[in-house]
Symmetry: C2
């Protein structure tokens, strides 16, 4: 234990970080001490719940190419017609009741364990982009080296609690081996919790097996939170369900998440979309509980609006905020952890459009009660692109969310009556005792934005945010050192990956 | 009347606008149908109110160089010691009780009249910058022509309900004449309501006199809402109070607004700052009611956080959001209209920093219950700069606030059960009847942002938001035609301004 602690303190890392002025810090998961945005009335929520039950009973959901799932449903009392599963009213909600209200996802550094649910707000980076955009402004296919860079940036980002999953698609690695390299990057370059593969049930199993090595035996502890998308409307495909079955059986967490471009995969109205979202999530979570009652899950919602002219998904819009907040209310009524939000935007560049759209979504996520925020940082161009600069821009804003979540102190020191007395009319607070005692931590401080005098800034070349962000990316990467890992475990991980790759190549 | 209506329809304007694809529209003031962000507990609000009363009683406020004000205070039961006015507990709040809960500010186009207070959310442009920044990226001193350009842009902006006041400082006009040219620009280039001068009591009187001409006799109708800053901490200077006295006597509205850089003009804590804000606003509003009971006022709050390293004010920070929301709660407890917020930012460019900071503030203003939002658009560099591009960026975002404020419909059409039935599992909503019926207005649509496919956008030169905004500025200005004005009234306005300028020059 003392050996482990010594390793964790990372002498080399600390020295290098000290030289760069960058400290490797990780903020605890913020617990909201503020009221949430309860945008929909209880009456509207009742209506949505009743309608969702009607959808499940009348229309039902499709479990495609999955006879075992149909068998489970039949046994649970659903009506199965071909691949269509119809649930009598109340059944889905009843089955969902065994899902835990919150759960702990362990990290290999126990200080980085996260509890998901309740008032907590866990933040994880962007997931899924096939492209990256770097400081040169070039947009190109992502590679494994880019993936590692994002994992390092996430490790260096104080306000990220989670290393995420497919931070970008490493297109230079064979599709059937990719997941192993991605898992290794999360396991070795970071000590924060991470996500497993969902692109095939066997890859989900690889994810579980790798964690079993990393954590010295999982013993039913939850070490993975993975993203199970629903193929909206109302369809559960065999690949995603196969991964869900692996994870649920191993007590690993799944985000059950409709993936909806509004007006295409769901009705154009907020309440209609929420009805479908609820029906889908209830069916998915109910199914997870059929696989293993008590398996940890998250009520997921990923809904964008659509630009009806171009058909492009749009982000940071009022309808997206309304759906996010409404879905959060529905999740809380089911006592389930809630996933949504992130620094979502449609912009192709890390410019003002990107920032308006992302800030709108980040604020909605805070106030909408999100417990697990995927895509917290780095997302660009509707999720097609992971941007290094956008990553550090958004990651910086997450600090503001932490401070907001903490709420407002009203203790005697915060009342500051002595300061008001000391300064009096026409005075100045900068020198007073209260200010001197608190100025270091009174205000949240951006690590990125420019607050220099105009002249100083102009002499420095008048950098815009993108340019400041490019500099910060380099500063963080220069200060990076990997968190220490037991060499024996690392060797076993390497051997596992080599063995699996050999098998996969022989199958190929 | 029919003549006036004919003029208002503006045949030339309509034709020109049609050619450009730009319609001259003005959205009604949105009425919030959503719950507000009640960030502070009732207990904390009680505490702040009690402490503010203590501040007024123990410390008091200074009314500088204003013997008449001291006399009014003495007569009202305050204790006056030199220029220091101390109010027995409860007095300020009692005097504030005659201030109206809401009031109507008339515009010369009656369709543009605004009611300020209640659930309404009136949006006005940036106020006060000595510099402008234009599409070339150049930062320079503002001139009268820039001022006129901003008034035109505000007139062309659908989501702005108000033409504002000093949209920038026209530094090419003599200080003692400037207010006349500014008032004329608002009165002739726009038909939206506007603000009066506060830089001297005589200029406030000029503002009232000009409106008396413009409106064919004011007869106690409120035609001006003007910005009375408090010289925080706890000081009311003679210039601002002189303007307030003129306006209140004429039943014109004043925003009574502490201007606070936190940590400099108020304590570094949220609750301490709110205590001082409340004490100052109560003293200011109480004074307005001593001048004329029932005079319309707005509970103003302009508070920024501070970068303790550089001393620069910072915007879009969590503390600013907390103070905004808390001040809104205090204003509602006093049944007074509330002013705060805007597209505030510290950034020197209309870049991502500007947009993150502005979006944070705009969202806080929506949820914090702001009734009158100054600086809604165009603000840059801590208010030193008015930016044409930032103006249209923020103004576009105001549309999203309108949609959010409207809340979520849950009627049968919004429930969309028929659409869900029609499409079914695995189907597609784009072609269904419900989507076809609603796609035009289902989603708020940006008039600025880029949602084109990557390739189309790249072929078009890969424009960033700033570049798109520069194009929109030109499109709006090209489509601009002034709203028609009765030539007789215009002639009287011109004569009034000429007369006043002649007098002012002779005094000079």
């Amino acid at each position: 234990m003392s050996q482990a602690l010594k390793r964790r303190s990372g002498g080399g890392a600390a020295r290098r970080a000290a030289r760069s002025g960058i400290r490797i810090e990780a903020a605890p998961v913020p617990q909201r001490q503020i009221p949430l945005n309860e945008m929909l009335s209880a009456q509207t929520l009742d209506l949505i719940e009743a309608n969702a039950d009607t959808v499940l009973e009348e229309i039902g959901v499709t479990f495609a190419d999955n006879p075992a799932a149909l068998e489970r449903w039949r046994a649970a009392g659903a009506s199965v017609d071909g691949e269509r599963v119809r649930l009598p009213k109340g059944l889905a909600r009843k089955l969902c009741a065994t899902a835990p209200e919150r759960f702990t996802q362990i990290a290999r550094n126990p200080e980085r364990n996260v509890e998901i649910g309740g008032d907590g707000f866990v933040m994880a980076p962007v997931y899924g982009p096939p492209f990256v955009r770097d400081a040169t402004g070039e947009r190109r296919y992502a590679q494994m080296e880019d993936f590692r860079t994002f994992v390092k940036l996430a490790y260096m980002s104080k306000w990220l609690h989670h290393s995420g999953g497919t931070v970008c698609e490493p297109t230079d690695i064979a599709v059937n081996e990719r997941h192993l390299d991605m898992l290794m990057a999360h396991a070795t370059l970071s000590d924060k919790p991470f996500m497993g593969s969902v692109t095939d049930p066997s890859r989900a199993q690889d994810s579980v097996d790798l964690c079993d090595i990393l954590f010295g035996g999982l013993n039913d502890r939850t070490a993975l939170t993975s993203l199970i998308n629903i193929n909206s409307p109302l369809t559960f495909d065999a690949t995603m369900m196969g991964a869900l079955e692996v994870y649920a059986a191993a007590n690993q967490a799944c985000i059950i998440s409709p993936f909806i471009v509004g007006g295409a995969m769901a009705p154009v109205s907020v309440v209609g979309t929420l009805t479908q979202v609820l029906a889908e999530v209830m069916a998915g979570i109910a199914y997870s509980q059929l696989v293993r009652p008590g398996a940890p899950v998250i009520f997921g919602t990923f809904v964008t609006s659509i630009d009806m002219n171009s058909g492009a998904p749009t982000f940071g819009t009022p309808e997206a905020t309304q759906i996010l907040c409404g879905a959060g209310q529905l999740a809380r009524r089911m006592n389930l952890p809630f996933r949504s939000g992130g620094g979502l935007c449609g912009s192709k560049l890390p410019d003002a459009q990107a920032a308006y759209e992302s800030a709108n979504t980040l604020n909605a996520a805070l106030m909408g009660g999100v417990n697990f925020m995927l895509h917290s940082c780095g997302w660009l161009e509707g999720g097609l692109v992971a941007s290094f600069e956008k990553f550090v821009m958004d990651a910086d804003q997450l600090g503001a969310l932490h401070k907001l979540a903490a709420g407002v102190s009203a203790d005697e020191e915060a009342q500051a009556m002595d300061a008001i007395r000391e300064v009096g009319p026409g005075g100045h607070y900068l020198g007073c005792a209260h200010t001197q005692a608190h100025f270091q931590d009174a205000f949240w401080r951006s690590d990125l934005f420019d607050h220099r005098p105009y002249e100083t800034w102009a002499e420095d070349g008048a950098p815009d945010t993108r340019s400041l962000a490019a500099t910060r990316v380099q500063t963080l990467l220069n200060a990076y050192t990997p968190p220490p890992l037991d060499p024996e475990i690392e060797a076993r991980l390497v051997a596992f990956v080599e063995d699996r790759k050999a098998v996969l190549r022989s199958e190929h």
